[in-house]
Every structure is written in structure tokens, then in C-alpha cells.
Symmetry: C2
Subunit: 212 residues, 2 copies
DNA sequence: GTGGGGGCTATACGTGGGTATAGTAAGCTC
DNA sequence: GAGCTTACTATACCCACGTATAGCCCCCAC
């Protein structure tokens, strides 16, 4: 299965070119540092046309958000219909990865995050059936954490690429990333006994607060 | 064990007040939206004094970075000397969490990320000894991913709090978060067989690219 | 053709906010 | 007390960039 990003019918219009340029500039430079002039130049249009189509910088960003949500929802549908997909939260985002990362950290894109939580929740409910002992935490909470963990690669992409020693947006990087994820996902980081011990400590109100 | 954030001796000076105000403003509003005037006001000093002490907005940010690195390195030392700490990457960051999140996504704070990778790498090297089959991926790559996953809570804090239904920076939220993390860390998300199957697919160059 | 509407450009306006300068007051040294 | 350094303020500068306005060109309807 290969998920493709089908271009919208409207994608050849100047309006769409502006939107794509904005997606790129916002992702690359962030909302504040990106300038309408720069976006207009990339799109090959005049400054005024951007305003003509979108009204304001803020509205332009919202149009970008809406577009991203549309595209990613389409991906999600494809993923949902293919039960054995591999979680690879970076590569498929393609040109949207940087924008998505910023959108998430700026607090926009909440619907997307919640979508992922919902998908993961249903997946977990299924997986829990074949689990020996019942989970001590509800599926929604676990799904939230798993979503955050999955998105961390998109959000922290430069650091991950640096750590892996290869650009995760390249084919080799993609493979390296996937291998590492597979290994981690298939091996618990902690024994159930250790986890139970710490859980007991929390209940006694003695949980350590050391971060790592 | 309770890791405390010891205040610097210099913390009572106007310079330190400015730095702390900047840390807060940058974390709360982001680098661009934060204004030197606002920082000066919060610190209770004049606009000019900020420039006098730090030279430029950029330099002020770098001073914040340096300070954050100092503080977090101190935490890391304490963690390293306490072998059985619980990974709780949010609570302990306290007032620095929002700044750290932004710093990481902006691509600054690389030394911090790399510190964490190093710590995790040594921890993994130890843990690998008691692992039945040898890992298929080197410790550095796995540690990178684990660091990213751990930091995802700090970076995506608003979304995580929303998903858990409780502010993770509150005591209850902290406990909820910790329980969820414990459950996930102590249970593999995927069977070794599934992982092996997908690994084989990668080797054949057929890896699915579906994100989720 | 003529009118009008939408895609598009050129140009101007206003201002927020980073930067720069000038100056004051207090302490320190000799 | 003269001269310096340092902590600090008040004020001015200036320009990048979001916003606003005026108008052109082309196509279509009638």
C-alpha cells in the first residue's frame, strides 16, 4: 500500500499556489518570521493578490490549516482502511511535515491531534483484547501519549535526523527511522514489575520527579 | 529523591530578573511575538537596560538557552546519579517547560537533546545485556527516538493535557501522565513477529508509507 | 460595443518594535 | 575630588511588514 497525495482540482490556480507557498514559508520560518511578500514572491504573484484572495495573514494561515486537515484526514481514512499499516509519522507528511510540527507546537492543529488519538484509541481497544492482564490506564490516556510519541518525530525532526545521522526525510533515513521504531515498539522499555513498583510509589505519593 | 531547582547566586540581580522574564515571555509567546518592551516591563526595568545587559534580542535568547542548559544539565547529573528514577519529562521542567518546547521545535537546544540521547544510550547499553536476542538497531538510534518520545510531552503539552483531560502540570495530571507512561513503557505495542515481518518488507523495499 | 466583475499589479500608509544615543546617578580607586 | 566604570533611564530613529487604495486587463453577457 502506498498512500499518494492526490492534488486538488483547484491546485493549479494562483490561489492554490499562494496557499502552498504559505504552507512552505510558515513551515520553514514560522508564522511571524514568514512575510506575505516572501510568500507572494514564491508563488510568483503580487503582494496585493495574496490579500485579495485571503484577506489577511491570519486568514491565510487558517486556510493553510484547513487544507492540511483535509489532506491528513484523507490519509487517515486510507490508513484506517488498511489494518496493517506501519506507523511512520514523518515520511508520508512530505512537504507538510514542518508546517505540521509548527502548527502542533503553536497549539493549532488540535483537531488533527484528536483525530490521531481517536484512531489510536480504537486500535488499542482491539489490541487490549489479547492482553494478559487488564490495562491500569484507560485507552484514551494511553492513546494520547502514543499519539504524542508518534508525532514527536515530525515535531523534533531536525534533532531526530541529527541523532540518527541521516535525514529522516530521505529514503535511507526513512528506513533507519522505521527500523528503530520497530525495535522500540516491539520491546518494552521497562519490566511490568518495575512499573508496578513505581505505580505503588505514586499511590503512596512518593513518585520521584526526576526527568529523563 | 526529589530534584530541586536551586536558584543561582546571581538570581537576585536585575540581569537575572530580565533573563527570567525573557524565559517566560519567549516560552509563552514565542521568540517573535515576545517584545523586549514586554520583557523589560515584567522584569521591572527599562527598555534600555535589557539592551545594556544583553546587547540584542537574539543575544538575550542565547543567554536564556545557556541558562536553561545549565539548569537542565544539573538535573541530568542528579538523574544520572540516581539509577531508578522515573522518566517524567514534564513536571520537573517546571517554569521552563514551555520555553524548552519552543526551543526544541525552533531547532535551538540541540545540546540538550543530544545530552538526553547520550544518557539514554548508556542506559540502553546496560539494558541490552539482559535482552534475549541482540537488538537489530544500534543504541544511539534507539536512544534518539526514545529521547524524542520523552520530550514529546513537553513539546505537545497542550494537546497531551487536553487528551488526558487534566493539566499535566498539576499534581493529578502528573500522576495520570506517569501512569500512562508506565503502562506504555512496560507493554510492547507490537509483537516481535509483526516487527520482523515489517522489517523484512523494508529490506525488500516494500515498506508501507502509511502514517498513523 | 459597452458595462461589469473578478484576477491581478503598483503604490502608498501607518506603526510596532528592535536598535541606537545621550545622559544621570552611584560606587570605586588613587 | 577627579576620573573611571557600571547600572540604569528617557528619548529618538528607522525600517520591515501588515494593511489599505486605486486602477488595469481580460473575459463574458447582452
Amino acid at each position: 500500500m502506498r498512500v499518494t497525495t492526490v492534488p486538488d482540482p483547484e491546485d493549479l490556480t494562483a490561489r492554490a499556489r499562494i496557499r502552498d507557498a504559505a504552507l512552505w514559508h510558515f513551515g520553514e520560518y514560522g508564522f511571524e518570521r514568514a512575510t506575505i511578500r516572501g510568500i507572494a514572491e514564491t508563488a510568483g504573484v503580487s503582494l496585493g493578490l495574496v490579500r485579495h484572495h485571503f484577506g489577511s495573514k491570519q486568514a491565510l494561515r487558517e486556510a493553510c490549516d484547513a487544507h492540511l486537515i483535509k489532506v491528513i484526514r484523507r490519509m487517515h481514512e486510507q490508513v484506517a482502511s488498511a489494518p496493517h499499516g506501519v506507523p511512520n509519522p514523518v515520511a508520508v507528511m512530505g512537504p507538510y511535515q514542518r508546517y505540521l510540527g509548527r502548527a502542533l507546537t503553536e497549539g493549532w492543529a488540535a483537531p488533527l491531534f484528536d483525530d490521531m488519538v481517536g484512531i489510536g484509541e480504537r486500535w488499542l481497544a482491539e489490541a487490549d483484547k489479547s492482553r494478559p492482564e487488564p490495562p491500569t490506564v484507560d485507552a484514551r490516556a494511553r492513546s494520547t501519549l502514543i499519539a504524542a510519541m508518534a508525532l514527536s518525530v515530525a515535531v523534533l525532526e531536525p534533532h531526530v535526523s541529527r541523532g540518527l545521522g541521516v535525514d529522516v526525510r530521505s529514503p535511507e533515513g526513512e528506513a533507519t527511522l522505521l527500523r528503530a521504531i520497530l525495535d522500540i515498539y516491539s520491546h518494552p522499555l521497562m519490566s511490568p514489575e518495575d512499573a508496578a513498583a513505581i505505580r505503588a510509589a505514586i499511590d503512596r505519593g512518593q513518585a520521584t520527579r526526576a526527568g529523563g
